[in-house]
Amino acid sequence: MSAASALPETGYNFAYLDEGTKRMIRRAILKAVAVPGYQVPFAAREMPMPYGWGTGGVQVTAAILGASDVLKVIDQGADDTTNAVSIRRFFGRTAGVATTTRTCEASVIQTRHRIPETPLTEDQILVYQVPIPEPLRFLEPRETETRQLHALGEYGLMHVKLYEDIARHGHIATTYAYPVEVAGRYVMDPSPTPKFDNPKMDDCPALQLFGAGREKRIYAVPPYTRVRSLDFEDHPFRVQSFDRPCALCGAADVYLDEVVLDDAGGRMFVCSDTDHCEARRAAGHAGEQAA
């Protein structure tokens, strides 16, 4: 864990956004928590990083961050990807909060595309960066229509889509951003996490907040909420499995990155969650290619 930065950026409010904007975002968050899975419109601001780089997640994090928080930022499960480095540094500079790469030390975790392998606790908040918050968007491009479908709980389109996958491919061909039903009511996009991570959302002790800056939406899954991945009785939801463990730490029940080693088909598979992998290696676990 690196200590709170001594010299935060001057000339900006704590965590960049002004207090009025933070209050507006917190109100949207409260509404989102009160109506799990419902997309709450909010007046997203233009941030100093581009749309698509996590402006929604950054605004949610800015609104909930306090001086004593410890922040972790991951992209693709890793703390050292350039955009994760950039966002972590942004909050280090504008809020002066302590940052960490350890999942268990963090009170706020901002993520793009993964949920940490280490189970989360009641004392943590997971903030997701969301590109397209509307799970029905690729089935119905119009916002006026999709809002109505949600209001009526009319999710037949989605089931037809999943059925057509099975008809065409023999499997549901959605491998990430796999739609979920939250608290028995709203169908929600879990952000483009691989469906491997969907079960971690169910009954999770941590608060899960989702921010979409470009699309100006916030939604939430409160702690201990039922999150069910959509499926059929004869085609139950199933997560990806890998036919080998992590080459570095030997973990078998985690999501792996495929790394191309040469141009002759050489491949290795390593943990996508870098903190989880490092912690396991520190604890003495070793995979086949560990040094």
Partner: protein, 370 residues
Amino acid sequence: MYVAVKGGEAAIDNAHRLLAERRRGDPAVPELTVAQIREQMSLLVDRVMAEGSLYDPDLAALALKQARGDVVEAVFLVRAYRTTLPRFGASVPVETGAMAVDRRVSATFKDMPGGQVLGPTFDYTHRLIDFALAAAGEPEPAAEAEPGPDAALCPRVTDILGQAGLLEASPPEAGAPVGDLTREAVDFPADRAVRLQALARGDEGFVLALGYSTQRGYGRTHPFVGEIRCGTVAVEFVPEELGFSVPLGDVPLTECQMVNQFHGSGDVPPQFTRGYGLVFGQGERKAMAMALVDRSLRASELGEAVGAPAQDQEFVLAHCDSLQATGFVEHLKLPHYVDFQAELELVRRLRAEHAAARAQGDAPIREAAE
């Protein structure tokens, strides 16, 4: 032995230093000043202010310098800065009828009070590269016209048409509280004020192409340029503690009023309809395109069929912003390893099943209905 890629932080710092070096270019060539950009790239500065939704020529010029001349990047810098500015309130609506015009042309009347004022325009230049410009030199001074008898009076052509009832009155929502799309999420259907805001800050190329599409039959509106005027208008503000308006200064604007094919009903006799465009600085192309698209977006209000892209407000408003568009397109270069891995796993499984089915002599894929 595989070593995970580390050192993102050092790479980012070094990339930023390299970027600054490339921005500066050959150090043997004198560095551009912000004032040079502001004065000599003024139409570019105008565009950055228009799409950046912020009137500040020096800031826009600085943003252009920092952005190495990339318009969208400069707009981005201006917008991000704009987010941090406090808001004191809204100005009194500017009176474009009282504009000090540099240029004013109408395509609907040969002459009208105030006359036609050609002003600084490329319209009748021959587009021949002026090689003499490659060397420095002061241009010949332009002759100043004798002010005509009615130079001070320059009523809007649309007002002249409106008096006779030939043009629809400004729609009734004028005067209602105006939304601010930078302070509230856009709710569809969006009212005209919000649509005009989106178009005014929308990408010039995108709005231009949409306007053009209406001329080629995708939502035709039969437009005439009632008037284009460029010049400065006074901005006034009413401080709560004073209760009366005080001038804050002048801003240059370009306004375009399109006069479009008529519309009428049992209650209202046939009359021309309006399309409106307004941008900072001299931005005729943008103002005209905006006016075309504004009129197209009024299709449902005027009882016309909505089918063409330029008539579809969800399509236009959701896609006209250059920052949103560039962000989402360019974010594809961010890492997507985990999602791609998920797709790889599925494709490999489907291919294995396909091969197994082939080996058994089955048809590779059974139709669902079978």
